[in-house]
Each structure stands twice: as C-alpha cells, then as structure tokens.
C-alpha cells in the first residue's frame, strides 16, 4: 500500500505518480488531500502538503477531479483517501462522503477524527467507512468498542512516532492484530509509519495484511529517485 499527497509537486505529477504506483502493483493507493497543518505527519509529508496548499492552491475539489481521472482509467484499483478533519468539515462532511461513494472509494482515513465523535457519526451514517488509526497503546476495551462498531480496515502505527520516523515495530502490536483478527477474521490491517526498506516490508507483512509506505516514496519523489527507490522496495 503506497501513499502520496495529491497536488504535490503538481496535480498532474501526483496523478502520474499514482499511475506509477499502480503499474508497480501496489494493491492499495492511499491518496492524501493536502491540509495546511498536517498535525500527525512528519517533515516530509508536511512539506509536501504545504507546497501543494501554498504553491499549488490545491483544493478538495481539485483532488476530487484528480481522483475521478484515476478512477476512470483504473476502475478496479482500490483507493483509500486520507485527509485531516478540518478540510472535509469545511467542504461538508456529508457532501464529501457522497463524493467518495460516487468515486467508488470505500475507506477514508482521518487521523484527527476519533471514530466515536459526532462528526464520525455523520460519516458513518453514509456508505464510506472510516479507517481507525491505532497504536500499541490502544486499551483492549477501546479496541473491543471499535470492533463492535464494525470497522473492517485498521491502520496501525508501527510505533509511537510521526510519519517518516526511523522504523521500529512495537512488540504489543501483535496482540492488537490478534484481537482484531479474532473478532473479525475478514478485517484487514495495514501497518505504516517509517517503513523504508524491503526488509521492513517483509517483516511488517508477516504480521499485517499491508505495509504502508508514505514518506519514503514522497522523499524519493522530492529527490528525483522514485523509480530507483520503488525498485529497492519491491519484495
């Protein structure tokens, strides 16, 4: 599963990168709608978001246009949209969900939206599903509550850090994954934050369904080494 920021460095180039990811066989594309202040992201994604917003004036509408283009060309590609709450709150939560549905997008990641808040209820009343972003410190009761709410895709932070940090895998994650899989064998689990080598991808996918690669690819794009890094990451 691979991540990029829509509109970075330009909308057209981000669409081309998405196509590069698809060609490389990444099963899921995680496409981020840029926000001026991405509070959970590290320096690489923050810079990409800031450039997209400040230099490119990228709006939610621009991103929806890009998504529609990708969807038209790749009708069966699984896409997850990621953004921060204020961006879609300003756009209109219901309206955003309907746009996602129309684009055939089944999951969205909103890291600063607790899944039991009033705004999450608005989203959950629609067809699109939220992906809870959890870490190793999630209390078992809290996890059981989320499992009871019927989520079928979980994003786990590899460790206590922001995106793009040095990789480590918290020992308690295995327990979290087991609890998820026991409650719902069909639920899918991805692990992200800091994954930058093929070896780490292999390690992560022995525990989870997906390794999520973000900052490493975006940094490679910034440095003009995307094809090379993607080849290094192939497993």
């Amino acid at each position: 599963m691979s991540h990029l920021v829509l509109g970075y460095p330009t909308l057209q180039e981000s669409i081309a990168t998405a196509e590069q990811y698809i060609a490389a066989g990444y099963e899921i594309l995680e496409l981020q709608i840029p926000f001026s202040h991405p509070t959970a992201d590290g320096p690489v994604i923050t810079q990409a978001c800031r450039d997209a917003v400040e230099k490119g004036n990228i709006t939610v509408e621009d991103c929806l246009g890009a998504l529609a283009g990708i969807r038209e060309k790749y009708p069966d590609q699984e896409i997850i949209v990621m953004t921060y709450l204020n961006r879609i709150f300003a756009f209109g939560l219901e309206r955003f969900c309907l746009e996602m549905e129309a684009l055939g997008i089944q999951h969205i990641i909103v890291p600063d939206l607790p899944v039991d808040s009033p705004q999450a209820h608005t989203i959950l009343a629609q067809k699109v599903q939220l992906v809870p972003v959890l870490a190793a410190n999630v209390h078992p009761e809290r996890l059981d509550k989320l499992l009871g709410m019927g989520f079928d895709f979980f994003y786990l932070m590899s460790d206590f850090k922001i995106t793009g940090s040095t990789f480590s895998l918290h020992p308690r994650l295995q327990e979290v994954i087991e609890r998820i899989k026991t409650a719902n064998p069909l639920a899918r689990v991805g692990i992200g934050f800091g994954i930058s080598t093929a070896e780490q991808v292999r390690l992560v996918t022995t525990h989870a369904d997906y390794a999520i690669i973000g900052s490493t690819l975006i940094k490679a794009k910034m440095e003009g080494r995307l094809a090379e890094v993607m080849a290094d990451l192939a497993v």
């Binding site: 202040h37 959970a40 939610v60 410190n137």
Partner: protein, 402 residues
C-alpha cells in the same frame, strides 16, 4: 459543559487515537482533583507561596479622571511569579502531572510566558521540561528563552509554517504522539478535552478574587470585566466567576493587528469561521477552503489562529461581547498606563486596556470597569523599545557588541 468536554457543539477531543489513553487519564485525574480537598489545599497553598496571591486589585485614578466616565481598576496578574497569569494553570497541571506519576512535561509557548512559567514550576517540582516555541517567537521573545534555559528547560525552536504559537502547538502534539507517557502541559483554554475546562478551573481564582476585592473596594460587583483574548486562558480566568451575574458585562478583546485583511490580525471570534483543529471545535482563522490561515499581532501571546471553545460557545450565546484593538492602540495603551499609573503592561494585556479606554468615557461615574492585566511588560523590552526609542535600542545593541 455537556459530556466529553463539549460546550454546545464546541470543544470535544479531536486527536489521533494514540493520544486518547493519555487524555482519558488526564480527564479522569482532573475530575478527581476538582473535588479533592488535599489536592486543592496544595494548589491554593502553592499559589500563595509562589505567587503571593491574591494579586493586587489596583485603582487607576489618574486615567479614570483623564478619560471621564467609569472608574477603572486593574487586576494585576503581572505580579505573579514569572510575570503573568499563566503560572496559575501551570501549577495546577504540574501538580496533576505529579499525582499521575509523570516525569516529563511537554509545553508550547507563544510569548514565552507559558513556557517560562512551565519551566519554573517544573524546576520546583523536579520534572523534566521541554518547551516548543515558533522560531519567530523564539527570536522576538529571546529574554524568555534565556530564562527557560536558565531554569533547566530544553527550548526547541520550531521552523515549520509561520513559526509562531500554532506551529509550536503542533510540534508539542507530535512530541506527545511519540512520547504518550509524557504530560502535555498546554498553555491556554484551548486544545482537546480536558484542557479548556481544566485550565479554566485553574484560572478561575482570578475572577473569584476580583469579586471579593471589588466588593470591598467599591461596594459592588464590576459593571464590566475586560480581558485580552489569544487562546483565552486569562479571559476565562476573569470571566468564569461572573458568568451567572447578568449585571456584569464581559468583553473579550482580540488582536486587531495591522488591519482586518486576512493574515494581518488574530480576531478569531469576529473574523474566524467554525472549524475543528488542534483537538477542538471552535472558531479558527481559515482561508475559506479548510486550511488554517496566517495571523499577525504585535503581541506573540495573541498571535494564534484559534480560540477557546468555551469562549466560542459564550460568544454565540451572546454572554461575552468581542471587540478588537490594533497593534498601535495596544502600544499606545502601554505608554499611557506607564506614564499615568506607573505600570508596564504586557502587550497582550494592553489590548484589553485599549478597549477599556474607549469604553470608559461612555460610562457613568458610578460604573466600574475591571481590566485583567494578565501580564507585566518587561518581556516586551525589545519590541516596545524598538517602537518608542529605536535609537536607544540600537545604541545599546552596539554597546553590547563591543
């Protein structure tokens, strides 16, 4: 407040799931200490021992006479240790952190007052302290950086974004995500639950003291209470005890900066729109498409994009009126209070005074206006000196370089 830290629809706890255990632990701790006589005794004793509370309730007779109209008083929170009201909630939060067994404190700071107070309290309680500060604030409030470091805190200059308070808050949150066992000692009545309610609880002593002092001095409650509004901690401090007193008019004064164009001010309630950011639902300055907009104020402490969800709710309910004062008006107020009354105000607090000086002449002589002097102005030495005596500042800088 209804459940989960909501004030009407404002407030809430909009944070990544990784922080929820820490915030739940904090919220539970806060619920316990609110009615724990042992904790409260320690809190009030510390406020007395460190800050010499109650702080003075000072008449401003010369300005009152000059302006005509209402009698003006100031609540001098600048007399607190470290120079501002901020230390009230720092003491409260740090004592809670101790009680929860925390060893490391994270804080953000704008003007440096909250960071300075956090560093002092952490030194006293033996807690490790890391303070995040936007690069622009780090440069313009350099004396406070020095004090924090002298007190043993680690001060981190944040180079992201506009390099002001907002970016410091985000950097502090990122540190907390990486270190969820630390205690985030947040510096205003903003952020996710329980911060807005908790900092209001620790600051409400300001209004409680005013009630008693004003009755003693004037035989009545204030007709008006005024406070500057950045995030809202000093405003909630003075306002909270009077919320149910309909005769007391409450006025929050926001930073009007250089004008009402986007990016030139920090008037959130008057010019912001509803949003959800940095953990809470409130009014934020935004660009119209859901991005957070830039802010400006001559006072670092008001130079912030959001406002307390409690104030947003009370603004909608029309319980608190919001006005603004410009950079120039604030600077003029600093000069006037210095010359006429002998006090050097913090630039933040001067915004409230600037509005009070417009209001007073419209009032009758039996009316009482109380202004929260939330901080003293020594920290602004290089900003106000540049404005009032640039030549002397440059001469002094050259002398230091010799």
């Amino acid at each position: 407040m209804n459940g989960g830290g909501y004030f009407g629809r404002y407030g809430g706890c909009y944070v990544p799931e990784v922080l929820i255990p820490a915030l739940e632990q904090m919220a539970q701790g806060f619920e316990e200490i609110k009615s724990d006589p042992v904790f409260l005794e320690e809190f009030y004793t510390t406020l007395r021992e460190i800050n010499g509370r109650p702080t003075a309730f000072t008449p401003l007779p010369r300005i009152s006479e000059k302006l005509g109209g209402a009698r003006l008083f100031m609540k001098n929170e600048g007399l607190n240790h470290t120079g501002a009201h901020k230390i009230n909630h720092c003491i409260g939060q740090a004592l809670l952190a101790k009680r929860l067994g925390k060893k490391r404190i994270i804080a953000e700071t704008g003007a440096g007052q909250h960071g300075y107070a956090s560093a002092a309290v952490c030194a006293r309680l033996g807690l490790d302290c890391t303070v995040y500060m936007g690069r622009k604030d780090y440069e313009r409030q350099r004396p406070n950086v020095y004090w924090m470091e002298l007190l043993g805190a680690k001060v981190v200059a944040v180079d992201d974004g506009s390099q002001t308070l907002n970016d410091a808050v985000i950097a502090a949150f990122k540190d907390w995500v990486a270190n969820p066992e630390s205690f985030y000692l947040l510096g205003s009545a903003v952020g996710p639950h329980p911060f807005p309610a908790m900092n209001t609880f620790f600051q409400k002593i300001v209004g409680e003291e005013i009630r008693e002092q004003c009755l003693t001095e004037t035989g009545k409650l204030p007709d008006y209470c005024l406070a500057c509004v950045g995030g809202g901690s000093n405003a909630m401090g003075i306002f909270y005890d009077f919320l149910d007193e309909q005769s007391v008019q409450l006025i929050g004064v926001e930073a009007g900066g250089r004008g009402m164009q986007p990016g030139e001010h920090a008037s959130k309630v008057q010019r912001g729109v509803e949003g959800i950011f940095e953990g809470y639902h409130s009014y934020f300055l935004q660009d119209g498409t859901g991005n957070i907009a830039g802010t400006h104020s001559v006072s670092a402490g008001l130079d912030y994009c959001g406002v307390s969800p409690i104030l947003a709710y009370l603004a909608d309910e029309k319980r608190i009126q919001f006005e603004s004062a410009s950079d120039e008006e604030a600077l003029a107020a600093v000069q006037m209070v210095a010359r006429e009354e002998g006090f050097i105000l913090a630039l933040e607090s001067a915004h409230a005074f600037a509005h009070a000086f417009k209001l007073a002449p419209q009032c009758s002589p039996d009316e009482v206006i109380v202004i929260n002097a939330s901080g003293r102005g020594e920290k602004d030495l290089f900003i106000t000196m540049r404005h009032f005596q640039e030549e002397s500042l440059l001469t002094y800088a050259q002398y230091l370089l010799k």
